[in-house]
């Protein structure tokens, strides 16, 4: 008989628990705008690089570095990984590291990078 009362108390107290959670952590709107501006600049740099006449490994390296930077910034700020529990990042990392490892093995054994 005590359990329903406990559950009701939990539900009653839930909004109080929720109010602090809604205001804890997380980037501000200003941070979001700054990150978006940086992402825009990086995208513009990528497009510029593709038109710049730079070729070969230098172009590919620069493009990949820019895209990795954008990737990490979206994960960290827009998807809140920087502010959230580390276990979310660990789970996501499992997928990204697993996929990257597996497919790099496929590409290397297929000699794609030697073409």
């Amino acid at each position: 008989m005590a359990e329903p009362e406990v559950r009701e108390q939990t539900a009653e107290h839930a909004p109080e628990h929720r109010a602090p959670a809604a205001h804890q952590g997380g980037p501000t709107v200003r941070v979001y705008l700054r990150v978006a501006a940086i992402l825009g600049v990086l995208t513009a740099v990528e497009v510029w690089l593709s038109y710049s006449g730079i070729t070969g490994g230098l172009l590919i390296t620069a493009l990949i570095l820019a895209s990795i930077t954008k990737f990490v910034m979206v994960l960290a700020y827009f998807m809140h990984l920087k502010y959230d529990d580390w276990r979310y990042g660990r789970f996501f990392l499992m997928g990204i590291v697993g996929a990257t490892t597996l497919y790099m093995i496929v590409l290397i054994t297929s000699k794609v990078f030697l073409r």
Partner: protein, 202 residues
């Protein structure tokens, strides 16, 4: 601590984390494998098409750059929707969610237009290896964006009919995670498929 409060509000979990959010991250983790496979397949067959049209014949980088900026902007509007939801500002939340959906529709519309242009230039699904791998990869991405748009519109509908839970930032955050993931997949596609030059056919 924020997640613990949500977990407590839902029900107790062994991790102290809300199951929904954990499931979403695991789902996104599995999506890395899906898109990794599609991108790898494209790269495996890059430069191997026996007949035109080839990527350099059809790609319009300027046009695709605009699409990329549109999708990037939609990520910004998505986080602004989340910020509004966290402040309890339902009207602003709906406004930013609708903006995100609209930008997503603009992106998908741009992709559809691009596909029709490519088709008119002779690139169909079965024309060559480039056509097959390109359309499958970007097509899957486009479907994911479309599903995201439906989720956004669903959130707006639920908000309008006041069916969102008291902590409405949580469902907005979940849809946001999916939407941002779709954006970062496009970051990879844009660079690997569009910007990095394709070697001449062997």
């Amino acid at each position: 601590m924020a997640d613990a409060a949500i977990a407590h509000a839902e029900h107790e979990t062994s991790t102290g984390l809300p199951n929904t959010k954990l499931a979403m991250w695991l789902f996104l983790s599995s999506e890395c494998l899906l898109f990794g496979a599609l991108i790898t397949t494209y790269m495996l067959y890059r430069g191997q098409s026996e007949q035109p049209p080839y990527p350099q014949d059809v790609f319009d980088i300027a046009y695709t750059s605009v699409s990329t900026f549109i999708l990037l902007s939609s990520s910004l509007s998505m986080v602004l929707a989340l910020a509004a939801a966290e402040k309890g500002d339902d009207i602003r939340m709906r406004l930013w969610l609708l903006t995100t959906a609209f930008l997503g529709m603009a992106f998908v519309g741009g992709q559809v237009y691009e596909f029709t242009v490519f088709y008119e230039e002779g690139l169909a699904l079965g024309t060559n290896l480039f056509g097959t791998t390109f359309y499958i990869l970007t097509g899957f991405h486009g479907v994911h964006v479309t599903v995201g748009i439906l989720m956004l519109l669903g959130l707006v509908g639920l908000s309008t009919s006041r069916q969102l839970p008291a902590q409405r930032s949580f469902p907005v955050e979940m849809v946001g995670l999916y939407w941002h993931f779709v954006d970062i997949v496009w970051i990879a596609i844009f660079v690997l498929i569009y910007l990095i030059p394709t070697p001449n056919p062997t």
